[in-house]
Symmetry: C2
Subunit: 460 residues, 2 copies
Amino acid sequence: MEAAVGIESGKDKGSRQRLTVRKVVILAAGRGSRLRERKNELKPMRRVLGLPLLERVVLACKAAGLSDFLVVTGYKPKPMRSFLARLARKRSVDIDVVENPDWEKGNGTSLLACCRKLTEPFVLVMGDHLFEPELLAGLLRVDSEDDSCFLAIDRRTERVFDLRGATKVASRSGCITAIGKDLESYNGIDTGVFLLTPAIFQALAKAQAKGGYGLSDGIAELAAEGRMQAYDIGERFWLDVDTPRSLREAKRHLARQVDKPSEDGFIARYLNRPLSIRLSLLLAHTPVTPNTITLISFTIALLGAWLFTRQGYLPVLFAGVLIQGSSIIDGCDGEIARLKALGSRFGAFFDTLLDRYADLAIATGITYGFWLTHPEFWVWLAGIGALSGFLLTSYAKKEYQLRFQKPPPLSFLPRLAKRDLRLFVIFLGAVVGQPFFAMLGVGVISHLAVFWILVRGRRN
Amino acid sequence: MEAAVGIESGKDKGSRQRLTVRKVVILAAGRGSRLRERKNELKPMRRVLGLPLLERVVLACKAAGLSDFLVVTGYKPKPMRSFLARLARKRSVDIDVVENPDWEKGNGTSLLACCRKLTEPFVLVMGDHLFEPELLAGLLRVDSEDDSCFLAIDRRTERVFDLRGATKVASRSGCITAIGKDLESYNGIDTGVFLLTPAIFQALAKAQAKGGYGLSDGIAELAAEGRMQAYDIGERFWLDVDTPRSLREAKRHLARQVDKPSEDGFIARYLNRPLSIRLSLLLAHTPVTPNTITLISFTIALLGAWLFTRQGYLPVLFAGVLIQGSSIIDGCDGEIARLKALGSRFGAFFDTLLDRYADLAIATGITYGFWLTHPEFWVWLAGIGALSGFLLTSYAKKEYQLRFQKPPPLSFLPRLAKRDLRLFVIFLGAVVGQPFFAMLGVGVISHLAVFWILVRGRRN
């Protein structure tokens, strides 16, 4: 039997790890009575920001390079089976289902039910434990020379969520010495993520013979033989979602992941993003897709552009509000994509292209509106100057990235020329009744940013 | 001594070839009397389309991954030395110079003069033989298991330029059996590109003892020992530039390399490119740089844009001629860059950015010119529609390439929306006195091309 393990990404080829871990076992047989069951929604199907818990577990494994699953069901196996079939199709993964009629005895019986299907090292995770992909990827990189099994443990015992319900682990120099919920002395917490060899099945059988039907009982047997090692997850995130409180904590964690401050401009970071994330957390519960949000944001921008051509303060003010609103909603498509793992390259492409057309419409609307009261040709020339600045900063950035294989440094001037600030300044201009001159201002800044990007290119 | 060889590019790491070939010896000691000497211009300095022969040899070696040179001089060593020092700085290569006082005896003495400096396998090329980099790169990939030496030979004996002056080679199953200018029976031509081991020095000394001072005499000695192998260059280009006729042939070959038909649109391919190449071949002899040409083309386009705002048929016709001229000259920067190995990523970046600003100026000029006689707001709206189409097709292509890591397929519609056709249609419009409507036509096509690129993105 192969003891060496490695991730399947293909990137690690050539290292001394061998590619033998392919299967992930997910235990999803229990009832989860602590988390109030909803009508027709079993615990693994319980949605966290729009995605079932089990789907998030599958996605984390997939992100770590594994896409071959064995899910053990027990409680209400029928709805679980159809749920899993849909999930496999939706996320393009293989899901094999094993039913465990003895699930009520303990979760050790659930793993033991898979013993015929597993002849190589495999990963074991819980259907209700969230974890970040890098936690599993790190575990898959451990370099084992014998047939040791590994349990990913969290050393931050004092900061673990719901310490009372957690399974404690004691280990010495990497070897697990004891495991259990009521351990007095421990230095780690069981995260529910394992890297096991089929040796676990013998250990489980041995434990059952002594009357221990829990997974921990089997692990304890392996530990007693000195074959159970601890893998320290460091600062990585995991969470056992089995109470309403931990469900809220899971949402908080996911919401924090959605931000992407490094790419954001000033306004996006401090104004748009906080608002759009709140909106996205609400939208996550609906079936609305990122591309639909892109279209909604675009439509609102077009409406704003049209309103800019109406005379009077109120329409212009409302137009400003609309385009600032469109700018905020424009953040939601990416956020929903990240929250629900619905991102696609086309989605990002579609979004960026529509942004350019929205900018074009807004600039044209503002120029036309101003020209109605100032019918002189320079108005059009200035408008063309501004809108070409908007389009060309975006163009220059893409071109720079293609030529130099890296984005242009996002320093002060390019940040000033980003779309968030552009639309916000126009919004402010609308508030004071001068959207045209506000637009000209950001137009000038945009051309300066193009020049700056050109100069940076020269230095490369 | 290491017999295995490989190129230094680093890409071949992990293959079984070892990286031992680092040095290139260039023989440049002779007088080259067949090629009429010009004032202060020795044969290796003789310019072929603006670059000295020897510089082209150095560039070919550099492109094949070698940048450590040993140049043997003989005739007029002083001007050669300063020429080589300038060349080393200009092209960022190492050039060591060995003077051979005995150069008039034969070119075998020139190679022998390097014997102290060469303890590993090395490449030997002639200072007056042009060859394409892939010829040398292929030779460097040969997988030698013993300490054989290799001569790159051309099997196309009937098509070799100047067969009378060429050195003939006879070989049997890869082993060279005879070499010489007056060989009766031969099946290959000596291209002047060698992969040698220091064993050649003993062979040269042996030949000299018998009164043979040519390089071929040394090679013949190695061949007699069965240690000289032939490397078939296949269809690759090489040329011994030692007569005015071969100099013209070299220019013809380089001119053919300059084309890049795969990326060109219809007009570029059949109209602009043939004209711009002729212009580039003239410009190659001047010190004008690609970036200067970019600026000249841009200035001409701006002039055309301004002329479009003048009234009357003649200014508009002249404007059309100017922008079509600018479109032709716009091809020269890249051509000169390729002809003289002056290409830079910044140059390409600068060129593309200025093209966008030129398009902007042209579209604005045409719109303003038309508005002067048709002072209605829709003229400006239509003009903005057209110019945004020009900018956005370029943008959509870059964005597509960044998102999908490949350029969008260059099928009919995107080809129609390329700059060459755009400017040509506007030129035709100017000829018939209707540049504005011509521009609107290509503007519509441009937006259709954006839509098409979006649809292609969806399919990915």
